[in-house]
């Protein structure tokens, strides 16, 4: 208050003494100049506002285009920020790494995010730079019930975890003691959500829970829900690793444990690679020798096998890790790049619009500039004036774009599978917006400002007939640029969708349609078979098969077998080993190329085996020759199983179409994870309720959960579908922006050529001729854009398709179609203005 008063008094004195003393000292001079600048700035804004109001049509096109671009850019920026900041919230995230293993053994390659159980303890004891280790053994979904009740509740995201979990990630328990919480076998920690679901926050501690109707656990802690932006999102049940049998075993070649290490402060992960790899010699080879006597590292290498350990920083997992099975589905940096480019394109498009429309209007402004210059305004002053205008437009657009973003964000979230919100309360966000809008204003305003301030007064004031103000070439170039981007996006969209369509319709080697999968059938225990038999009796059911192993995402099990003739590295075959029943092949409509399916008639089929073509290839024989061959599986305790190959299955895609088809073997065995039911075409909901009725009779109180194989299959391509949807959305936006620009430019062009059109009409040109003439000028630009963008689109989309082993070829008509779309849109956009200009009576245009 006081300072303000003093200031005002000083200000008053300053003003009154101004004439007498001029400037007393430097600081007052500065203040005066500051004030002057402020007044000038206000003046600039006032004039800017007026010139916007004078040209409402162009001002609208400008702001609307810019607002759309900004809103798109804003949403994409938020998306990218979200993607780039996964797992950063964990304490010491900088020092945490996950151990990976790239393995080739027995003809099968895998890129594993998991390593063997004993790795963690060995690393911690052998290497001084390892401060702490934590392992996860992921279980996925499981059934939970309070020990005194019958009804189960399905809980997603259950995992065994070492007791070091809390210390590793710097997590605190809401209730319970961190030091003891997961020390004892059969203890578990629930997240807040899970605890509330079953008991309530405080009451949870000490309660008993029965998991999958078998093991009883005691709740020893409640923890905050795992952050959305972390690799542990959707994990709700953390069980003590102490109770997991496999975790205690010294099985060095079973890679089933996600293993995290924390390095001591100052340690460099690069120095850790050599010691890590040395574990192959210290631990793995001696273990391998117990079942492959005399095996050496050199031998292993010579036979084309390998085991490479690697590390990935915790913060990099989300964007850079694409291993066979991850704790949570990851994204990829490629998507971030693609989106960044699209975002940048959008803003660039909008900005180009701005430049185009502004310079286009220069015709109207030329006179103003000429007069201002004659009256003594210098070039910098004019540039400031024009930049103020672009600033004003930029900030008005920013406001609009925030409105658009608020409306669009639910759709965007649905599109991108995120739950992003606009951080209105963050000062940094506003700072970023302010800076962004200013930079955009300068960037878009600079060219028009220099362009217009250059007009020489003599030229523009010479008569009213100054129609040509130049800049036409640059404007054409900018239109070409805009349409090139649009055409590129159209091509990309088409290719992504065609690949998706290809995936949908590809012959997978099995039929996924009309197959209902009932999950958690194992909870029925002995009654699983009865359940299956009763379901088979239903009229709507063609057949049903019990197995945990499905050709859509499901349980996988990989094992080493040997050909007859000794347990050597050369004889080893690594295959999927799936336990199925005799209905499996017909239910999923798989094809037997040679031999036969399992048959209950044959008593010997308990040792029979079906293999797929990839497995036959590893055996190095023809399909026919494989029949009757013997396959041996050795167990740790020295015992072994012999299998006889009775049939060869045509290869089927059980992993995503990005992958090659690996070797699969099937044996008869009881595996009751799920029941796959082939339904008759018709009313599925009736069939489902009939099956549910049987379920409820067989297993009262157990939750009935089902899904269609088709949907399950589609989840594998979630990323591609998302990409497809994102492409469509932003392609439409970019076309919209480009059209706004073209529309404005066409309007301007018609306006600029009013006189010319009038003259031509007086001289005998018809409306059709004029329209054609005005339209083709623009179509030429679009044509150039098409020619420029097609090779780029071809190259980049082929790169994208390289990710898929099974992919489409991009045919010429994709380009033709994209070109046609672009041309049609351009014609529709431009012809309105062209026709409008062509039908004007020349008497009006030529009136003097």
């Amino acid at each position: 208050m006081e300072t303000l008063q003093v200031y005002k008094k000083k200000e008053f004195m300053h003003q009154s003494m101004l004439n007498l003393f001029q400037y007393q000292n430097q600081s007052e001079l500065n203040r005066f100049q500051c004030q002057k600048t402020l007044i000038m700035f206000k003046n600039h804004i006032k004039i800017a506002w007026r010139s916007l109001k004078r040209q409402p049509f162009f001002a609208f096109l400008n702001t609307f285009g810019l607002a759309i671009g900004m809103a798109g850019g804003l949403l994409i920026s938020l998306y990218i920020y979200d993607e780039m900041n996964f797992d950063t919230m964990f304490k010491d995230a900088d020092r945490i790494y996950r151990i990976n293993a790239d393995i080739k053994f027995g003809g099968t390659e895998s890129k594993s995010a998991q390593v063997s159980a004993p790795m963690a303890a060995a690393m911690e004891s052998d290497f001084s730079q390892v401060e702490l280790t934590t392992r996860f053994r992921n279980l996925g979904g499981m059934l939970l019930r309070k020990s005194n009740t019958e009804a189960n509740i399905k809980e997603e995201g259950a995992t065994f975890v070492d007791a070091t979990f809390f210390e590793m990630f710097g997590l605190d328990l809401l209730v319970g003691d961190m030091q003891t919480a997961l020390k004892e076998p059969n203890t578990l920690v629930l997240t807040r959500t899970a605890a509330l679901k079953h008991f309530g926050l405080k009451k949870a501690i000490g309660q008993s829970l029965v998991l999958n109707n078998t093991d009883t656990y005691t709740v020893t802690g409640v923890i905050e829900d795992m952050p959305e932006r972390s690799f542990l999102r959707n994990h709700n049940v953390f069980m003590a690793m102490a109770g997991n049998e496999d975790a205690q075993k010294q099985e060095w070649t079973s890679h089933n444990f996600f293993t995290f290490i924390k390095l001591i402060p100052g340690a460099d992960i690069a120095d850790f690679q050599t010691p890590l790899q040395s574990m192959l010699g210290t631990y793995i080879m001696p273990y391998v020798q117990t079942f492959l006597p005399g095996a050496t590292e050199e031998q292993l290498e010579a036979s084309g096998n390998y085991l490479y350990y690697g590390t990935i920083a915790l913060k990099d997992i989300h964007l850079y890790s694409a291993k066979d099975h991850e704790l949570s589905p990851n994204s990829s940096i490629q998507n971030v790049y693609i989106l960044s480019f699209i975002g940048l394109f959008l803003i660039l498009l909008a900005s180009v619009n701005f430049m185009n429309l502004s310079t286009a209007q220069s015709l109207k402004r030329a006179k103003e500039v000429g007069i201002r210059k004659t009256l003594g305004s210098d070039k910098p002053a004019l540039i400031r004036q024009f930049l103020t205008e672009s600033g004003l437009i930029s900030f008005i657009s920013l406001l609009f774009s925030l409105g658009i973003a608020v409306v669009a964000i639910p759709y965007f979230n649905a599109l991108s599978g995120k739950s992003i919100s606009i951080p209105f309360t963050e000062p940094v966000f506003w700072m970023a917006l302010f800076i962004g809008a200013t930079v955009l204003a300068l960037f878009s305003g600079m060219y028009p400002a220099f362009f217009m301030s250059r007009f020489a007064p003599v030229k523009v004031l010479k008569g009213a007939g100054a129609t040509s103000t130049g800049g036409g070439n640059i404007r054409s170039l900018l239109v070409v640029f805009q349409f090139a981007i649009s055409v590129f996006l159209i091509v990309s969209t088409l290719v992504v969708f065609m690949q998706l369509k290809f995936i949908q319709s590809k012959d997978l080697g099995f039929t996924k349609d009309q197959v209902l999968i009932v999950d958690d059938v194992y909870t029925l225990g002995e009654k699983a078979t009865a359940f299956k038999e009763q379901v088979e009796q239903l009229g709507q059911v063609q057949s049903a098969t019990l197995s945990s192993f499905l050709p859509t995402p499901s349980v996988r099990s990989n094992t080493s077998f040997f050909k007859e003739g000794g347990a050597t590295a050369e004889n080893s075959i690594n295959m999927q080993i799936w336990n199925v029943d005799d209905n499996y092949i017909p239910t999923l409509n798989m094809e037997i190329l040679e031999g036969r399916n399992f048959d209950r008639q044959f008593g010997t089929d308990s040792t029979a085996m079906l293999i797929n073509e990839s497995a036959v290839a590893i055996l190095g024989v023809q399909a026919k020759e494989a029949l009757g061959m013997r396959i041996i599986r050795n167990f740790e305790n020295g015992s072994s199983n012999n299998f006889t190959i009775i049939g060869v299955i045509k290869n089927f895609n059980y992993e995503s179409l990005r992958e090659n088809i690996g070797a699969v073997s099937m044996t008869l065995g009881r595996s009751t994870g799920s029941l796959a039911v082939k339904l008759e075409a018709g009313n599925f909901s009736n069939s489902i309720s009939s099956i549910e009725g049987i379920w409820n009779k067989v297993a009262p109180g157990q939750p009935f959960s089902y899904r269609f194989m088709e949907d399950s299959f589609n989840t594998t391509y979630e990323a591609e579908q998302q990409l497809g949807r994102i492409f469509v959305t932003f392609t439409i936006l970019s076309i919209l922006i480009a059209c706004l620009g073209l529309f404005g430019l066409a309007a301007f062009n018609a306006q600029k050529r009013t006189k010319e059109i009038g003259i031509r009409k007086v001289l005998g040109a018809s409306i059709g001729q004029i329209t054609y003439r005005l339209t083709t000028d623009f179509l030429k630009m679009v044509g150039v854009a098409i020619i420029v963008s097609l090779p780029v689109g071809w190259y980049l989309m082929n790169k994208w398709l390289e990710d898929f082993t099974y992919r489409i070829e991009i045919s010429w008509w994709v380009f033709a179609f994209a070109a046609l779309i672009a041309l049609t849109i351009a014609v529709l956009t431009v012809s309105y203005q062209s026709i409008k200009a062509a039908i004007v009576n020349p008497v009006k245009s030529l009136r003097t």
């Binding site: 007939g465 129609t467 040509s468 006189k755 010319e756 009038g758 003259i759 031509r760 009409k761 007086v762 001289l763 005998g764 040109a765 018809s766 409306i767 001729q769 009576n841 020349p842 008497v843 030529l846 009136r847 003097t848």
Partner: protein
């Protein structure tokens, strides 16, 4: 050639109705040179535009070479205009982006004449108008007098029966103005009918007949015997 009877033209703009031509009657014989005079805003240009079939009358009859044309559709008028009528304006109305040659060539293009023939005709008329050495120049590079000569070249390149000139000397100095008037007179002597709007008494003396418009009505008509005798 031209027969106008009880012709009216009104403009409606934002609730105001202007009666630009009020019951005009006018005959122009083939080969005549008629000047239309009158104060600014009295309807001269409006009348000329209707005669030139650029606009339709609101009511009344306009016969051109014996055909009623007052109610024709735009496309029909365009067809009739092509090759029959030539226009000369006060502000020249050349297309800035086209060269002298291309400007003069335009009407021939719309007549779908082939390229050789076009070139021949354009060069002939440019030579006649003594502007052929500027064929590759753009209008902005020429003086006013030269621009108007190009405009006249363009008007006559199709050998029209009728030339309509709206204050053709309005933007010219007297030396250039006289030159333009001499050109028009020459064309008239070769048989082209000319209807010219002018403010200038000097120019009006080149015409056979002067029609005075006042407030959209023909006030007086006078024959220029002195001039006619002189020629």
């Amino acid at each position: 050639m031209i027969q106008i009877q009880n012709l009216n033209k009104s403009f409606r703009t934002e609730e105001v109705e202007t009666l630009a031509l009020n019951n005009v009657n006018l005959k122009v014989q083939e080969g005549e040179f008629v000047a239309i005079m009158g104060p600014s805003g009295c309807g001269k240009s409006t009348l000329l535009n209707i005669i030139g079939m650029l606009d339709n009358p609101t009511s009344g009859s306009y016969q051109f070479a014996g055909h009623e044309v007052g109610h024709l559709k735009e496309n029909q008028r365009t067809q009739l205009r092509k090759g029959n009528l030539g226009f000369v304006f006060q502000s020249f109305n050349l297309i800035d982006e086209l060269t002298v040659f291309e400007n003069v060539e335009l009407p021939l293009i719309y007549l779908k004449m082939n390229k050789n023939e076009r070139k021949q005709k354009v060069m002939a008329v440019l030579e006649r108008m003594k502007i052929a050495h500027r064929e590759k120049h753009f209008p902005q590079q020429l003086s006013g007098g030269q621009q108007q000569r190009v405009a006249i070249s363009r008007a006559v390149v199709t050998n029209p029966k009728l030339i309509l000139a709206d204050e053709p000397t309005g933007n010219l100095d007297s030396k250039n103005g006289i030159e333009v008037m001499n050109l028009l007179t020459e064309l008239n002597q070769e048989g082209t009918t000319i209807v010219m709007v002018t403010h200038s008494d000097r120019d009006s003396h080149y015409a056979h007949r002067i029609v005075n418009l006042f407030d959209g009505q023909i006030a007086t008509e006078s024959h220029n015997r002195a001039m006619g005798a002189l020629m």
